[in-house]
Amino acid sequence: MNTVPFGPRNPPEDPLLAKAAALPKDVAPSRDLWPGIAARIAKAEVAPARPVLRWPLTLAAALLVASVSALLTWSLVRDPQSATPAVIAAAPVPAGDFVPVSYGPNSGLTAKELAARDELFTQFRGAFETLRPETRDAIVKNLAIMQTAADQIDAALARDPASGMLKGMLVGTYKQELQLYSTVVTSHDGLTRRT
């Protein structure tokens, strides 16, 4: 088998480097490739990379539950034969119906960093349950925004893995996720200490 020797020698003496130097510096494609690439990027940006949080489904389900509860309450109050009054149920986002932000394969986040996040998320989940419905909705909505951002950055990192800007933004998103959990947990510090 023919192998090209390669070693720490002067470039002119190194056959591999000489062969490499002989290669054309700029290879022009036979046609303009950008329209095709742009179309694929646009398609990727339009189609969600992964199913984001299930909050729209949850919200719809919650609204359904609330509507059914309201109808039930109304029918019980209206019906003089009914002895047990029903309480109109709130439509909170259950803590089990959302998950922490999922970072893609290009994030560079370590297992240790994600484990620390998951630990904080567990504490956050308990505090989340006690928040009023609109606050829970705002949190779920913002977690979905962070998920979209993480997906967007991860897709961009796949194209440009060395981008310091993108890496910095991904770490920034991770930090913002941690800060969200931390703020909720800290605000509930008294509550969690007592329970």
């Binding site: 022009a28 742009a38 006690t130 928040l131 913002n142 925004i145 703020t183 800290t186």
Partner: protein, 299 residues
């Protein structure tokens, strides 16, 4: 039998509105150091802090729920204030807010955490760390550092011409900084940042999809970094502009109302970049986007 219905409705309404009558108003006072550290934690309602010319702290807490508890621990160097909700009870929509009004020494150091409670601070000259999830955050900046974050709430910081290092963080919420001088660092995901910085020394702002508008007067050797993935970056510079520019966008447009025009980085991709020195140079300005547009102009 049909007469039972109004009574039933009235009974339910009475049960719902009963806690409103059980509001607690609690007042606490303590003598403290001029630069006392004050930690406040409140989930829902409001936190209003104003400075006064006394080495004392005064707290007036209005707790709408009779079951909420107020913790107030004070030493001359540190005061901790916390609204507790024992037994893991849920927060309801109404009548369960806790409103905390504080008077503190001007030099107090603030560390405030809330979830949906608004935070409003006036006249405090010590360092401030203010964090909320969905509540608004309003404060003034003097010479000490101010760090404010609101996940979905709005952050508003009014500078007073001092050299406070200001830092803001949002996810969907937005930040507005005016009258600041010197250093500013802002991060946002989908919300917006609007900042006006005089004698900008170190400015570092970034967004994922949100827009950023920065009005700046550059310090002689100031550094301005603006980055976004898909938002729009707008930099308005107060003339005369003496700076070295390094601008790059993968697929967004670059518009500069002075200096040379941006050129393509490749014949086969839409990327463009622009590096030039305006005036005498000195300050360093770097803007970078993936698909967002970049606009720079001297006003």
């Amino acid at each position: 039998m049909s007469n039972r219905n109004p009574w039933l409705v009235a009974a339910i309404l009475a049960a719902i509105t009963a806690p409103a009558a059980a509001q607690q108003t609690i007042t606490k006072r303590a003598t403290v150091a001029p630069d006392v550290t004050i930690e406040v934690s409140n989930v829902q309602g409001s936190v209003e802090i104003s400075a006064w010319d006394k080495d004392e702290i005064e707290l007036v807490a209005e707790l709408e729920s009779a079951k909420d508890e107020l913790e107030f621990e004070a030493t001359p160097r540190k005061v901790s204030i916390e609204v507790d909700r024992p037994d893991g009870r849920r927060y309801g929509r109404d009548q369960e807010d806790a409103h905390l009004k504080l008077h503190v020494p001007r030099g107090a150091r603030l560390d405030v955490d809330t979830v949906s409670a608004e935070i409003a601070v006036a006249g405090v000259r010590g360092p401030q760390t203010l964090q909320s999830v969905s509540g608004e955050v309003n404060t003034q900046a003097f010479d000490a550092p101010v760090s404010a974050s609101a996940v979905s709430g709005e952050v508003t910081i009014a500078g007073t011409g001092g050299k406070a290092a200001i830092q803001t963080d949002n996810v969907s919420g937005s930040s507005t900084v005016t009258g600041a001088r010197g250093d500013f660092q802002g991060e946002v995901v989908s919300g917006e940042i609007h900042a006006t910085i005089a004698v900008a020394q170190n400015v570092d702002v970034s967004s994922v999809s949100g827009d950023i508008v920065l009005d700046a007067e550059l310090a002689a050797e100031g550094e301005v970094d603006m980055e976004t993935v898909s938002g729009t970056l707008t930099l308005n510079l107060k003339p005369p502009v003496n700076a070295d520019f390094d601008i790059e966008s993968f697929s967004g447009d670059i518009e500069v109302c002075f200096g040379p025009k941006a050129h393509s980085t490749s014949k086969y991709t839409p990327g463009s970049e622009l590096s030039f020195t305006q005036g005498q140079g000195g300050a360093r300005i770097e803007l970078q986007s993936l698909s967002g547009d970049i606009r720079i102009c001297d006003r």
